[in-house]
Symmetry: C2
Subunit: 121 residues, 2 copies
C-alpha cells in the first residue's frame, strides 16, 4: 500500500469525480481510475459507487477514507520533521509538530504555492 495511492482515494472522495480528482493529484483520468481499482482489489473492498452522474463513497469507503487521512497526516508529519531536521541541522525535535492545514499534494505543488515555480495556465 503506497501513501501516494491513499492520497488518490482521499482526493476522489472529496472531489466526487475521477476527472477533477485526477487533475488535483496531477494524473491522467485513466491512470487515477486504475489506481483506485488497484487499491480496491488490494483491500478486497468496493470503496466507491460509480454512477453516471458523479462518484459516491460507499459505507466501507467512508471508514477507509478516514483511516487514509490519518495515514497521510502521519506521513506529512514525517516529511515535515525531516525538513526541520534538515534546515535547522539539529539532532532532535523537541515538540511534535501539528499541521493545521494539509500539506501540498506533492513537492511541485509546494514550490508553486511558495511562488518558486510559475504555472503557465
Amino acid at each position: 500500500m503506497s501513501v501516494r495511492r491513499l492520497n488518490h482515494v482521499v482526493a476522489l472522495a472529496e472531489e466526487g469525480s475521477f476527472a477533477r480528482a485526477a487533475e488535483r493529484v496531477h494524473l491522467s483520468q485513466p491512470a487515477l481510475s486504475r489506481s483506485i481499482q488497484a487499491i480496491e482489489d488490494e483491500l478486497g473492498l468496493r470503496l466507491f459507487d460509480r454512477a453516471a452522474r458523479g462518484v459516491a463513497v460507499t459505507q466501507a469507503g467512508k471508514t477507509i477514507v478516514e483511516r487514509a487521512r490519518r495515514v497521510l497526516f502521519e506521513a506529512n508529519c514525517l516529511v515535515r520533521d525531516a525538513e526541520l531536521l534538515k534546515t535547522h541541522e539539529i539532532g532532535e525535535v523537541q515538540s511534535a509538530s501539528v499541521l493545521i492545514r494539509p500539506r501540498s499534494c506533492c513537492p511541485i505543488c509546494w514550490w508553486v504555492s511558495r511562488g518558486c515555480i510559475r504555472t503557465s495556465g
Copy 2:
C-alpha cells in the same frame, strides 16, 4: 514515500544489522541497502551510521523512525479495518481498533503465523 520502505527503516533500526533486517522483511541484503539509501536520499537525511560492527541510528534517524512507526501503525489500522469490513460485511466500524502487537510484516508472514503455510526451514 512508500509504507513498505518505512518498514525497512524500522526493521533496520531495531535489528541493528542490514543482514538481519533484510531477512526480517524478506529481502536480499543488497536490496535493503538500496532501499535505505533511497529513503535517505529522498528525505535528504542520513538516518544510519554504518560502522564495521553494526549499524547505529543517527540522532535525526531516531526522530524519523519514531514517525515511521506512527505511519505504520495507522497503515496497519487501515488494513485491519478493511479486513473487518470484509469479513463481517458491515458498512461501518463502531469503535477504533487498537493493535496491542504490531501486525506481521506482510500477508505471507500472517498466513505463516496462522499456520496456513508451513515453512520448510
